[in-house]
């Protein structure tokens, strides 16, 4: 937790020598607290004070990164318990687990299907983050072969799962080029596993069945010189996971409890008996405090839902996702193509644009600056009224691009029709369907309106 100016002051030499460029140590301390100065400006600060200040400045939940040549995943460094308090910053990494006891072709196939998967949601390309390879065989060669097979199909980060340090080492050398997460150090093997992690400069997960034991382990692993740690508190059922992960988040943020100030890894598949149940658990973990989520099942519909949910929860509540207002051309419209208007809330824009695009029919889509609000929200807030619609039509220059004067407004704001007609003399205002899904059908009939 950040220190106050006064707390920092107590750690400074208090000689007011001014060498830092500030008139007093206290003034300097105040600037440090406000993050407007660097500690290094004071030549006289003691090593001990430096260490204390560094520790205090470190985030309460350590930022941990895993990497592959093609992708980096950073998790942790969250600052709030509820997203409305500020925002959640680092979406949990979603990994798919494969096992080295499967035939290599199956390992490769599963990893490839999951890594090739991508889906477009409100204009964003979403995908999974990497693969977790588990040494179910216990055999170093088999594990290395599985890791190698996975590396052949993806450049994304890996999680290497083995309890035997020798097996982990074999996996690491096959994982060439990635900085994987090593899973896991336990009470039995922590020393050797931590040494492997240290040598590889890789983060390591620690697993224990109680928070007491977990805290012991992180301190030991850190003591060996592995700063990047991930927690597995051992719970697998949804209720226990919710409770434990909430406790961990509170310990880190409210108590500034360093031994447990790390991101958390979960395994929803181990607490579920089918895809939908696994998705329910994974959704819970996305909302409530996981840093890495290892899935055991892969189905496009499941992954799509989870990826969308992850975007939703990690959207900054202070700032709706917006698109640029203006004219959007869909399917190469010409002078006699239909003209539609919507708002610049991303979800709204894309639900309309995708429908027009998918219909194959050309169209002009005008996007009004409604401060990132949906059609009805903007209407209710006075940001998408007849005046705004008319202004959008006038300023986008659409009138020069078309040879007709027909404007389709969203069905949800049908009440605006009369007013828009008044604001836009010479224009015919058409009330479109309420839901964008019905736009393709409507556009087919457009010529007859």
């Amino acid at each position: 937790m950040a220190l106050t100016g006064l707390q920092i002051y107590k750690l400074l030499p208090q000689t007011n020598c001014k060498e830092c460029g500030f008139p007093t140590c206290l003034a300097f301390a105040m600037k440090l607290a406000a993050k407007q100065a660097e500690l290094s400006a004071c030549p006289y600060v003691s090593e001990e004070a430096k260490a204390q200040l560094d520790a205090a400045a470190a985030p309460p939940i350590r930022l941990v990164a895993v990497e592959g040549p093609g992708h980096r995943v950073e998790v942790g460094n969250e600052t709030v318990i509820f997203r409305h308090e500020k925002t959640f910053y680092h979406p949990p990494g979603l990994f798919l687990r494969v096992k080295d006891s499967w035939p290599l072709e199956q390992v490769k196939g599963a990893a490839k299907a999951a890594m090739d998967y991508s889906v477009t949601y409100v204009g964003m390309n979403l995908h999974l983050d990497g693969v977790a390879v588990e040494a179910a065989s216990g055999n170093p060669e088999a594990f290395a072969a599985a890791v190698k097979a996975v590396r052949e199909v993806t450049d994304r980060p890996l999680i290497l799962m083995a309890s035997d340090p020798a097996v982990l080492k074999a996996g690491l050398s096959a994982a060439d080029g990635v900085r994987p997460l090593l899973y896991a150090a336990t009470a039995e093997n922590w020393q050797a596993v931590a040494e492997v992690a240290k040598a590889a400069n890789a983060p390591v997960a620690v697993r224990a069945d109680s928070l007491d034991a977990l805290a012991d382990l992180t301190e030991k692993v850190k003591g060996i010189g592995v700063p990047d740690i991930v927690l597995d508190p051992g719970v697998r059922d949804p209720a226990g996971t919710l409770t434990t992960l909430t406790h961990l988040r509170r310990l880190a943020l409210k108590k500034n409890f360093r031994p447990l100030g790390y991101p958390i890894i979960t395994f929803p598949g181990e607490g579920a008996s089918d895809t939908i149940e696994e998705a329910q658990l994974a959704a819970e973990h996305i909302a409530k405090y996981a840093g890495f989520i290892v899935l055991d099942r892969f189905a496009p519909e499941m992954v799509y839902a989870l990826l969308a949910w992850r975007v939703n929860i990690y959207t900054n509540p202070q700032e709706p996702i917006k698109v640029q207002p203006g004219v959007y051309e869909i399917n190469n419209p010409t002078a006699d193509s239909p003209v539609m208007i919507t708002t610049n809330f991303s979800i709204t824009y894309f639900s309309v644009a995708n429908e027009v695009d998918g219909s194959g029919m050309p169209g002009w889509l005008l996007v009004a600056d409604a401060e990132g609000m949906s059609v009805l929200t903007a209407w209710a807030a006075g940001k998408f009224d007849a005046e705004k619609i008319a202004k959008t039509v006038k300023t986008t220059g659409i009138e020069e691009k078309i040879n007709h004067r027909k404007l389709i407004i969203p069905g949800a704001v049908a009440v605006l029709m009369g007013e828009v007609e008044e604001e836009l003399p010479g224009w015919q205002i058409l009330v479109g369907p309420r839901e964008a899904v019905d736009l393709p059908g409507y556009l087919k009939l457009w010529k007859s309106f």
Binding site: L211, E219, A239, L242, H247, E301, M302, A305, P317
Partner: protein, 320 residues
């Protein structure tokens, strides 16, 4: 290293409410359903208690739905032509509550009359022993007319009347007061608006244990994060002791999800969306599950498979 579990003891508690009345209490329900009563965030049993699990209501219409997804029609079959049969099927599908949604019009597109609303409500009450909620069509004049009739017809049954909004709450609250019912007060995703409406309703003399609040919600992928956070904020306010937010919350994920393309249609969607049936149920299930995690006490659902999924999750959470 001994780690002290960071327990949160909240000063506030959500009001516990009883839906439905058995013969002993002047109604005809075979059982009552209690909601609310928690003094903790959802399922955080280390902090406090949650005497009642979140409840699942199944939404039925008073006539064959016009624009519902074929998946829903397929799941329910012919019962959608008869609200009484549908109510019974909903009970058999495991609902805790049945929500009857009245339409603006009847077959042949003539307006639904007060007499229609009475007859349908009566038929539904006879077909199921579960407590029911009855929602008007959502137009002020029609709602006032129909819900007053419904309230009278169901006098003593402790049903929930909805939707009670700022513009029509007087009539509906009066009808609830006169006939021993509860109301569902809906506001547009805003903590202060929700509070304000609760105050207005309570000022008319309706006790707090007969007010449910409906902060409005949205589907996964279509604004759910707003609903999720508004509910978290409302619940935190309640637990911190703000009386006028200490009401159980009802949300309608079924309605929200089934108008979105992900659930509604199987054709003309990207291949990356996967299997339609699974996706539709998943979409409704995750929306509801997530809203329960943010504090929902009643979720109103549409697909019977979702009901099973959501209840299975609730059961696991309550069993600890």
């Amino acid at each position: 290293m001994p780690v002290e579990i960071p327990v949160e003891k909240w000063p506030g508690r959500v009001v516990e409410e009883t839906l439905g009345a058995t013969a002993a209490e002047g109604g005809t329900r075979s059982r009552v359903v209690k909601v609310g009563g928690e003094n903790t965030l959802p399922f955080m049993f280390t902090d406090g208690e949650m005497p009642n699990p979140p409840r699942v209501a199944i939404e039925i219409l008073d006539r064959r739905p016009k624009d519902w997804s074929p998946l829903l029609l397929e799941a329910w079959g012919d019962v959608v032509d008869d609200p009484a049969k549908w109510a019974k099927a909903a009970e058999e599908a495991g609902a805790d509550l049945v929500l009857l949604q009245l339409s603006l019009t009847r077959d042949g597109d003539r307006p639904t009359t007060a007499a229609d609303a009475r007859a349908i409500t009566r038929a539904v009450l006879q077909a199921t022993g579960l407590p029911i909620l009855v929602f008007g069509p959502g137009q002020v004049d029609a709602d006032n007319e129909l819900l007053v009739a419904v309230a009278e017809e169901a006098a003593g049954e402790r049903i929930v009347l909805g939707i009670c909004e700022e513009k029509n709450y007087r009539t509906i609250v009066a009808a609830a007061l006169a006939n021993g019912h509860l109301v569902n007060g809906r506001t547009a995703m805003d903590v202060n608006l929700a509070k304000q409406l609760n105050i207005l309703i309570a000022d008319m003399g309706l006790p707090l244990d007969r007010i449910i609040m409906d902060p409005t919600t949205a589907s996964l992928g279509y604004g759910i994060e707003y609903g999720y956070s508004v509910m978290e904020r409302l619940r935190l306010a309640a637990l911190q002791g703000d009386k006028m937010t200490q009401l159980p919350m009802l949300v309608t994920p079924g309605f929200e999800v089934w108008r979105q393309k992900e659930a509604k249609v199987g054709e003309g969607v990207p291949a990356s969306w996967g299997d339609w049936r699974q996706r539709a149920v998943l979409w409704e299930t995750l929306t509801a599950t997530n809203l329960i995690l943010s504090g929902a006490d009643i979720v109103v659902l549409r697909h019977p498979e979702t009901v099973k999924r959501v209840q299975a999750y609730i059961d696991r959470m309550m069993a600890r």
